[in-house]
């Protein structure tokens, strides 16, 4: 099959994300990238674990008194739900329904945006209420690098999916853009995978002490 083929509901392939050579390469290349991202985030986790609560003196707030369980819980639910909405988007992509796919992608974007808003509120709160900044301690640097890097990934994902939707509003679905949507949804799920470890290792383990 070729990317330029004009397809209908009847001729749409079962695996549009892997039906052309370009798509196959994209699929493989993206998973290779995700392998690299795993290493990247693992080293940030390692740094955080080594530097957690390493502060110069007792005036600094430690993880236990810093983190807020309800806020983390709401953020987790938002991101987890956005993962499900992007699954729905890919379900409609496979059924050749561009309208419904876009609808679910917009929902995903809104949930991601809400998550990002909460994170900005959280960081702002830490800086102003606890003077916990990037430069205040090794703990602060490690915390903002790890969680901030994840937040930057969310922000990038929002821009990416928004661009895809705008670029393809009139085009509908074809074998040229279906792999692009598929790969973007993989990225979005990966952000959620990283978040599962952030809320467990950073927030929950931080509350335990």
């Amino acid at each position: 099959m070729h990317a330029e083929d004009k397809l209908t509901y009847e001729t749409w392939p079962a695996e549009p994300e892997k039906s052309t050579l370009e798509a196959k390469n994209k699929f493989l290349g993206f998973w290779f990238f995700l392998g690299g991202e795993t290493v990247l985030f693992a080293s940030l986790f390692a740094t955080y674990l080594a530097l957690k609560d390493k502060v110069p003196d007792s005036t600094h707030t430690l993880a236990k008194d810093l983190y807020d369980l309800p806020l983390t819980f709401v953020a987790t639910m938002l991101l987890l739900t956005s993962s499900l909405t992007s699954v729905y988007a890919m379900y409609h992509m496979k059924n050749f329904n561009a309208k419904k796919m876009n609808l679910w992608l917009v929902l995903t974007l809104l949930l991601g945006l809400a998550f990002l808003g909460l994170e900005i509120y959280e960081f702002n709160h830490y800086v102003h209420e606890y003077h916990h900044t990037f430069r205040s301690s090794a703990f602060g640097s490690a915390f903002y690098t790890l969680v901030g890097f994840h937040g930057a990934h969310v922000a990038f994902g929002l821009l990416w999916i928004t661009t895809l939707i705008i670029r393809n509003t009139k085009r509908g679905l074809d074998l040229y853009n279906a792999p692009k949507f598929y790969v973007a949804s993989l990225y979005w799920h990966f952000i959620d995978v990283v978040w599962v470890f952030i809320f467990t290792v950073v927030y929950l383990m931080g509350m335990v002490g």
Partner: protein, 111 residues
């Protein structure tokens, strides 16, 4: 290729079959989502209910996270489908290097 197996020569039959298959997959994904929410609730509850020792909670919530990530990878990211041998290799290689890094940083480094 999944494509060739789904081809009976009659497009109508193929579409019916595929729609059914993707509906079934969607059902699996909704079930995994429910389980993921459930695991998250347990993890937060284990920490919110004070009374368990850290020696129990930490390995317990880490285990819940690993299970949840397996759901995410194999159902949401379709790693349970055929043709994911190379992706698995990439991901697990990355994970291996990453885990060694975490192990090194959390055992060798101290202040």
């Amino acid at each position: 290729m999944a494509n060739s197996q789904l081809n009976s020569g009659n497009p109508r039959v193929d579409i019916e079959y595929r729609r059914k298959k993707s509906a079934e997959e969607m059902r699996h994904q909704v079930v995994s989502f429910a389980l993921m929410i459930f695991l998250t609730l347990i993890a937060f509850a284990a920490v919110a209910i004070k009374g368990f020792s850290a020696w129990f909670i930490v390995p317990f919530i880490l285990l819940l996270a690993v299970v949840q990530v397996i759901f995410q990878l194999y159902y949401f990211m379709h790693m349970s489908h055929k043709g994911h041998e190379a992706p698995s290799m990439f991901l697990y290689s990355g994970l291996l290097v990453g885990l060694v890094t975490v192990l090194a940083f959390s055992t060798i480094i101290w202040w």
